[in-house]
Symmetry: C2
Subunit: 203 residues, 2 copies
Amino acid sequence: MTTTQPIDFWFDFSSPYGYLLAEKIDAVAAKYGRTVSWHPILLGIIFQATGSAPLTLQNPAKASYSLHDFARSARFMGLPYQHPTNFPLATQNAARGYYWLAGQDVGLAKQFALAAYRALFVDNRDISAPETVVEIATNLGVDRSSLETALQTPEIKARLKNEVDAALQAGVFGSPHVLIDGEPFFGADRLPQIEQWLKTGGF
Amino acid sequence: MTTTQPIDFWFDFSSPYGYLLAEKIDAVAAKYGRTVSWHPILLGIIFQATGSAPLTLQNPAKASYSLHDFARSARFMGLPYQHPTNFPLATQNAARGYYWLAGQDVGLAKQFALAAYRALFVDNRDISAPETVVEIATNLGVDRSSLETALQTPEIKARLKNEVDAALQAGVFGSPHVLIDGEPFFGADRLPQIEQWLKTGGF
């Protein structure tokens, strides 16, 4: 099967499994000649709309297991992981930063997204703070004052809101969520199925 | 690492992912010289205790995805799957049958468990009915009237209750749940991690 339609990848910057999949998805897609369109979303709004909750705020047994599984799944996938002190956390600044950067340079926006994820899940930095988001971007050569201004514009706020609405419309109920030619995959643990799907065109 | 401690495997007979893992777990364990102790439980009680709900009774987006994923995950694992008409369903008869059989012959009890799972998830049979459970067992050579009597004894009811209590004590919050030398794994999708853990003694 050949197609040029990008794969859609929805994630929240506070999602541990979103971080794990973000580190892998583009390389797996590229193996099969596909590109990936990244869509940061806000799980708070998704969970409110669907009546769900973060794993670590569900029952104590599931919360405790999830904390253990985040770190073990990272090791299994060969990635570093340190659970953040401030968790869960607000991610609208990181998401807005992503969309503003993506309007100029998608490659740079993805670099920023990975840097933000690593800041949170490897270096335990509080990326809910706009100044942290700005610092991560300026380390990649982004102009500080342009970004500071952009984070507060109605256009970028509307863009994020529209992306969250579109995610809900597409059936997204958590993070990460991947859509390949109409086929949905939820969770970093579906990466082997994603790869098999790309390899075979469906199974 | 060598150890003779059996791996614990908790599952509910109404759990699609429990069925998928039941088809694989003993063979994977045997590759690494390990045996598996099977523990059917009642998710209704586990969910009541932990404040959770079946995937197909959660929000519509997650329910719809889950139905799709049950079948796709089965195909990915090379197993047949047909979603049952009566679902979710009560499984205390199947669980009681398992424990009564296990008191006599664990191998036969596992054969019965797999036959009950296939009856439900391949042949769309309603295994909530005691007569279906009895028929599945008699097809394996089990004495009908002994089993019919056993399903109603206080001893076997207490055994199942104790197993559910022990599962909650062990941190079980869903199905399937596996414990290897103190390390918990939730979900059929953790089979690659289970195998890696058995192969390396932990990672």
